[in-house]
Amino acid sequence: MKLGKTVTLASALALLVTGALAQDVAREDTVIFDLDRTIKDPENFNWMTPGTKRMHGAHQAMWEPLFILNYGTGELDPWLGTEITPNATNDEWVLKIRQGVEWSDGEAFDADDVVFTVGMAISNEDISSREASTVRAQVASVEKVDPMTVKFTLTAPNPRFAVENFGVRIFGSFLIMPQHIWEGQDPATFAFYPPIGTGPYTYTSGATNRMIWDRNDDWWGAKAGFQDLPEPKRLIWLESGGAESRAQLMATNQMDAAQNVSVGTFEAISFQNPKVIAWHNGYPYASADPCARQLEINTTVGPWDDPALRRAVNHIIDRNQIVNVAIEGATVPSETMFVQYGSMAPYIDAVKAAGHGLSPTADVAAGQALIEAAGYAMGDDGIYEKDGEDLAVKIHVNSASTEYTKTIDVIVEQLNRAGIKASSVPVENGVFWGEVLPFGAYEMSYSWLSCGSVNEPWASMGRYTVKDVVPVGERSPGFNNTARWADASAEAYSAIVDQMANKALGDPDVPGMVAEAYAHLADGMPFIPLVQSAKLLPLNTTYWEGWPTNDNYYNHPFFWWNSTHQMIHNLTKAN
């Protein structure tokens, strides 16, 4: 499949280059970003429904967020919003909107658009994107105070409301849509084509493997003095189709920013093209991604509905080997479910002090003892069996990246050697996120669904509470608790996490509560944290400079996130 993609890519690229020339935008005025997936429906821009509707440039170039969380400072950088403040009890929030913002068709962007879009999300059960589901769960009502002010009344106190919904904490944020276009449409089916936004780029053309955006020289931000017009005249998101073609495109200057590659591939690219850089100057080059990797377990499917067996798998997994073989040493083993940022240290330390830290090495004997205690006996073929049936598991993995498939290959190997007949089931990206994970159509799968916390523990822990459990075959709300963990330990865990929900950031009780809740999580083990995620993104300085790096840290380098607006404004032409 990858080989086929490489061939189609070459022809697509040829077409693209011809097209670009025809429209008279020079290569040195164009930034080409890598897209690691196929755009299933390039003429659908309804981001509130599942599918690739945003990361092909829509939320990096066209739709702007209200705020952007700055990973360097920990502050919310204002964008379309200027400030958002809670009342004393954290259950009412007031948002101030920037003056002078316009949609690309000239209509003004104001409180009506915000009230309309949030209202649409909270009154419509059919729209299912994670951000829309979160807003629906948190907001009781929304009202316009004046044309530039909106008040949100929440269903429960939430000190993290702004960063969770409007701050691009992880990947996206709740995007405001133009009322004058969406009004009267059914948000579950409206395609929003051609799309408009407030960003400095407008949609030019799209296909399943690419999306092209051209600069709008009449952008409001330049007129209102918010930011200068960005330098690139054209932005392209192009599906590269795998590590090999991605590397070739970077080495030959046909791409400016590529998705994750292995350390070896990056070294080979920079050997051929010294203009290609990454986050760090030296080994391991990569930046830390906030979504630590994990093995998600469907707790409703036997024999893995037995928590003892899930804990056995946890013992058998050798995290060091995953780091060394699958990630080529570019990351570290996870110690808990949390991302290992300095801001998370108090919670990680509390969990470790309570004895629930994860081991970087395997303890196969402990794992096998748990399996044998569950009534299994080792068969002649080295696989455990009970009542004539092998202890087997199929692990679903998204085939979009070798990082994912290699990690699962290592785990499959470890489990087989310990006596569990594991096999991997690679599935296409759209199927994985659209059909396998949310509907519980798996036994185990590779994911990062406990992702969320970067400076407090609740965002991650809150994703595995019992209130989000739905039966297999129904869509998990916002990909929360796709493990469908609902036994007694889950109940006890959820009770503590719910109490934590309205504690303020930095409350001294929280680390203790985290450790207490984590005891139940370690007992129930609905997912097994594996390793921290490292992203090695090759960035090309041949045509463009000003990429985010550790030495030029205005924000993280994840150019498929809604925060890419900052990056585009920082890019300058190379001499």
Partner: protein, 307 residues
Amino acid sequence: MTDAPLTRADRRLQRRMRRFDNPWLNPKLLWGIGLLLGIVALGLIGRMLWNLDLVFTGSATLKLPPVGFENLRRQPGVWDHPLGTDGSGRDMLALIVIGAPNSLFVGLMASLIGMGTGIVLGFTAGFVGGRTDDVIRVLSDVMITIPPLLILVVFQSAFGDVSLTMMALLIAGFVWQSPTRLIRAQVLSMRQSGYVQMAQLSGAPTHHIMFREMLPNLVPYLFGSFIANVTTSIVTAVGLEVLGLGPQRIPTLGRTIYEAINAGALIQNLWWWWGIPTILLAVMFIGLLLINLGLDEVSNPRLRRLS
């Protein structure tokens, strides 16, 4: 007369004539068989001499080159892994010791099943005739128009992880049509020959005539067709493997190439990762081609005189 010295031309002629006394001993056939046996021997001897546990992910340092070479990180090859290691720390020698016979196995097995089906259906259609013939003929004519790789890609994707045997069975489903048609045509012409009619007149049962009287006359044809089928089956199997649709955990040459391409082996200059399996596949196909040419000479005496 016998004492008279032979000229060089005479000797050459004599050698040639002697060589062709037995058509089964022609050099193309022998070389072809030799190459394939070499791969089988690699599998058998390698299994005895080499540590096969090295075939598992993470058994060795990643991306080591073969002995005598250096990789991009300037690490030299070591004798512990004479052919180097791949990007997941698997020993290349162990990979080919297990993988090469696996690829051959899929080809042979798919072809055997396909041929077996083809023989039974071809004879039945040609000999029994009537409605049976119509059904078999239409079925094989329809099946022959379906591009196998397309269907197999869908099948394999639906099955997820498949075993080697399962893959052989799936491929066998697409290699029975040609032998069926070939044998049917031969049987139709043979049906009219004297010995068949004699057998019929003497009341021999149908299966006896088909398999005891007629089949032996078709042996060279069947061999030729079998070898062509093995080639097709291996090409199909490797095609699926290179697309990443073969068995997941069982090493095959195609899967090794798939993993190499997928992990960026070309740009990292890890030539041994994709090069060694490619060479082995080339050896396998050259062997099969030589056998096919050799068998042609066995079944077609004119080719022998020409050579």
